[in-house]
């Protein structure tokens, strides 16, 4: 954004120069220009500060010209703005042609250059465009020094946008910390208490620092204020971190939920142990990849919409693969769960190798549509990526649709009937075989949807499914068989617990701890969190 503003400024420069050259010239005092051109380093810096504080719209192009080396002097009286072979006298506003021979570059040493950079940012604080002002305020946050204080104060008075205002007052306070006036320091410290920026913490710690036995800050009252503000900032930072962690936990949970929902149907409702479930997720991800490539080749203009098309595609492809599997293999193994387990493992090997043969063993690139990049800024330093937010929403939507399908449609009624009492359902005319195929296809299709979602946030490769299969089984087992509600609680719970533990013990140990927890949990409640109570002792 900053770069954009700079480019804009540079692009508009000739036009503004033309303005400068004519009537509006009078707005900038000739003395300031002389100071800029002929003054010593300190004079220049003072002039730069005055320019940026003036809020004058012409200050920005002038400063930019100085930074770009377009300001030159000729003799003792002429200050020229040289662009190509044209030059304008900045003091008189007249065009000078031909170029005088005795031109000299205006000396800009490093100190001046630094203050120029900040001043340009400060000058942008007066830009009419809100986003330009916001960008400038962000840049100033980390670079401003006391020379910019007047500019920031002026901008603060003019500013109407709350977000920019807050940023500016934080920046001003951090500059004022170094003030010699005690009341100013205290006021600044009180303002800083509102901040949620990690660098504020460092600033306040600096106030409380001890050097060789005595405090850097001599005044005890200032120190106690600083202590108070520090605690306020720290608690804000901790809250922010917590929000970030819970969000990433919810995000992981929604991913687990998507991965496990299909399994909750095939395993939970139908009792089929499908170890190829992970590979059905992978099939969905590759379907997304293919749709993406088709869009890129045939409809590059509509690329951002490819996801809309990929979602039903992933569902259909994975669902069809699932139905084919059910018809060809799994149907013959109902009631023999251990054999189903081995056969579906074989299927998963074949699916993986097929994908490797067709698409290669390397990961493939699935690009996010542009509206998914970036994120929602919850607080300073905490950005919640849109892609993750979209997946949380998507998981909720899929969940809702499955719930509606199972409770409000005829197919759902049949699935539940077959689950509860296959023989009786069959007697009343439910086509149990077809219901099996459709239910399995539904579970597989949901796995495909999970794959489509996962392709947006992670690598897509032949091994994609392997990394989710253990996790999704854990979710279903923990949640309890035959219960969608259990699956939801288990997925979100596992996701959040995992992320909270991660902050404390590192990713691998957190994962191990969660697995061990599940192993122990199952000892206590073999039927999962939500057990269907029944009198059947054994199958």
């Amino acid at each position: 954004m900053n770069r954009l503003v700079a480019a804009l400024a540079r692009g508009c420069l000739p036009g503004i120069v033309a303005l400068l050259a004519s009537s509006a010239m009078a707005a900038i005092a000739p003395q300031t220009i002389r100071d800029l051109a002929f003054g010593e380093g300190d004079d220049k810096i003072r002039a730069i500060g005055a320019l940026s504080a003036s809020g004058d719209p012409q200050a920005l192009p002038l400063l930019q010209a100085l930074l770009d080396g377009e300001m030159q002097t000729a003799g003792e009286e002429q200050v020229l703005l040289v662009q190509g072979d044209k030059a304008t006298d900045l003091l008189t506003g007249r065009t000078v042609s031909p170029l005088p021979a005795n031109r000299d570059d205006v000396v800009v040493n490093n100190r001046v250059r630094r203050s120029l950079g900040t001043a340009i940012a400060a000058a942008k604080l007066f830009a009419p465009d809100r986003s330009a002002r916001l960008a400038a305020a962000r840049e100033l946050q980390n670079t401003a020094d006391e020379n910019m204080l007047p500019a920031i104060t002026t901008a603060l008075a003019k500013e109407s946008d709350a977000e920019i205002k807050e940023l500016l007052s934080q920046t001003r306070a951090s500059i004022q910390l170094a003030s010699t006036d005690r009341a100013t320091r205290i006021a600044a410290i009180r303002t800083l208490a509102e901040s949620s920026n990690p660098s504020t913490k460092t600033l306040l710690l600096g106030v409380l620092e001890q050097k060789s036995g005595s405090y850097v800050e001599a005044d005890a009252e200032v120190r106690s204020e600083a202590g108070k503000s520090l605690r306020a900032v720290e608690s804000k930072l901790a809250t922010g971190e917590m929000i970030g962690r819970i969000f990433s936990g919810a995000s992981l949970g929604s991913i687990l939920l998507l991965a496990a929902l299909g399994l909750a149907i095939t395993y939970g409702l139908m009792g089929v142990i499908n170890l190829a479930h992970g590979e059905l997720i992978m099939v969905g991800a590759y379907a997304t990849y293919v749709v993406q490539n088709l869009f890129r080749r045939y409809a590059p203009g509509a690329f951002d919409a490819y996801l809309i098309c990929a979602i039903p595609m992933a569902f259909a492809v994975a669902g069809l693969v699932g139905m084919a599997l059910e018809r060809c293999v799994i149907r013959f193994l109902y009631g023999r769960p251990l054999e189903t387990l081995l056969a579906t493992w074989g299927i998963s090997l074949i699916l993986m190798q097929t994908v490797r043969t067709v698409f290669g063993a390397q990961n493939v690139q699935v690009e996010n549509p542009s509206w998914m990049s970036g994120g929602f800024v919850a607080m300073t330093g905490i950005v919640l990526p849109w892609s993750r937010i979209a997946i949380i929403g998507f998981a909720a939507l899929v969940l809702l649709l499955i719930w509606l399908l199972l409770t409000r449609t005829r197919l759902g009624l049949f699935v539940r009937a077959v689950t509860q009492n296959r023989a009786m359902a069959s007697c009343t005319g439910v086509p149990t075989r077809r219901v099996d195929t459709l239910a399995f296809g539904l579970g597989a299709g949901v796995a495909g949807l999970a794959g489509c979602a996962l392709s947006q946030i992670g690598n897509v490769g032949p091994d994609l499914g392997q990394s989710y299969i253990v996790d999704s089984f854990m979710v279903v087992v923990l949640g309890g068989v035959g219960q969608l509600a259990g699956t939801i609680y288990a997925a979100l719970g596992l996701g959040i617990v995992n992320k909270l533990l991660e902050a404390w013990s590192g990713a691998v140990l957190a994962k191990i701890a969660v697995l061990v927890f599940i192993i122990f949990f199952i000892q206590k409640r073999p039927q999962g969190l939500f057990a269907l109570r029944g009198r059947a002792m054994e199958t």
Partner: protein, 375 residues
């Protein structure tokens, strides 16, 4: 036919009890296997010159040695799955733990011959560790390492099994949590800080009991030890399944509730065979590592453990010789396939999983029996 009958659990009981373990035909087959493995193999490998047609190359010695280790694992899997009906998807873990215990001893006996010529193994030097972590103490003693080979998988299996069987976790649930167990251990061993070499595991062994580990004589000694273990465990397995204990185990497989109602507590029977099976796996792992020369955490991946189940299923559950033959057949196929058509091995393995479960529920041994019954 002899083969089939020899290892059937319902063979007739004869006069001296240990002789009645196998039928006369079974014993002669057993003796033949012993002669081939103990005498013919070493002679053909060590004394016959390399250019002779009868010479057995290093490649075959390593391959057969490896396959015998796998066969022991398949046998252990058969005891718990084929006879007791508990499918473990975590047997790769016990195998790897035994291997790691042996690997610790082998790492210690590298001495100063590592790349960094330090007291510590190279990976510890790399991590900038100054001394061995506590769990490495005494591992320089071969005897202690052997004890670890038995105790570590045994204790882990005992504790895990006790809690799992006590809460009457069975069937698919048990399979899935054993899978989670081995997965958790795999993640743990992949960490460098765990102190077992992380990703790379242990390798570059130099010697065992002072003998250079790559010398043909040492390799042959390991081969013969493995063969002896395999034959020994076959007899042990036979003895167990023929005993009353074995009958109870089979009964648990077929109708656990009825066993309970008949006054047996299935917990201790299951726990015993589960722990024994884990220990046998650990021993197989310990024999495997010096022959193959490497152990790393990928041995604990869930995929490996499932493959063990397929060896047993291919050979035939509920027979003892079946899993041994199954492990041999699948692994010979694997080494042939991965050389001839590397990209098709997974297709073949996948098809094997599907076809065996669909059409050969009793495995190769089942094929044998049905052929025997038909005429």
């Amino acid at each position: 036919m002899i083969l089939g009958r020899a290892f059937m659990p319902d063979a007739t009981l004869g006069a001296p009890r240990y002789l009645s373990l196998l039928s006369p035909g079974g014993w002669s087959l057993y003796g033949l296997a012993a002669i081939v493995l103990f005498f013919v193999f070493p002679l053909l490998h060590l004394t016959v010159p390399a250019d002779s047609a009868l010479h057995i190359s290093d490649y075959w010695v390593t391959l057969i040695g490896k396959i015998m280790c796998y066969a022991i694992v398949a046998l252990a899997m058969d005891l718990i799955w084929g006879y007791t009906g508990i499918l473990s998807l975590g047997h790769g873990l016990f195998f790897a733990l035994g291997g790691y215990a042996m690997g610790m001893y082998l790492m210690r006996s590298i001495g100063h011959d590592g790349v960094y010529q330090s007291d510590l193994p190279d990976f510890m030097v790399f991590l900038d560790w100054k001394k061995y972590p506590w769990y490495w103490s005494f591992t320089e003693h071969f005897g202690y390492a052997l004890a670890l080979v038995v105790l570590v998988p045994g204790l882990l299996a005992f504790l895990f099994g006790f809690f799992a069987f006590r809460s009457r976790i069975k069937g698919v649930y048990f399979s899935i949590i054993t899978q989670a167990l081995t997965y958790a251990f795999m993640l743990l061993f992949f960490r460098n800080d765990t102190g077992f070499g992380g990703n790379n595991g242990f390798t570059d062994f130099k010697r065992i009991l002072g003998f250079p580990i790559t010398a043909p004589e040492t390799r042959m000694a390991l081969f013969v030890t493995t063969a002896a273990a395999l034959l020994g465990f076959l007899l042990l397995g036979r003895w167990i399944v023929m005993s009353k204990l074995g009958r109870v185990l089979t009964a648990i497989r077929d109708a656990e509730t009825r066993v309970m109602f008949s006054g047996y507590n299935p917990l201790y029977f299951k726990l015993f065979i589960w722990t024994l099976s884990a220990v046998i796996c650990g021993i197989a792992g310990a024999l495997y590592v010096p022959q193959v020369g490497i152990i790393n955490p990928s041995e604990m991946s869930p995929a490996n453990s499932i493959e063990i189940a397929i060896w047993t299923a291919v050979g035939g559950r509920g027979t003892l010789l079946g899993p041994v033959l199954g492990a041999a057949a699948v692994n010979l196929g694997k080494s042939w396939f991965t050389k001839a058509f590397p990209e098709y091995w997974l297709f073949a393995l996948g098809l094997l999983f599907i076809l065996v479960t669909l059409f050969l529920p009793r495995g190769l041994a089942g094929l044998w029996h049905s052929r025997k019954k038909r005429p």
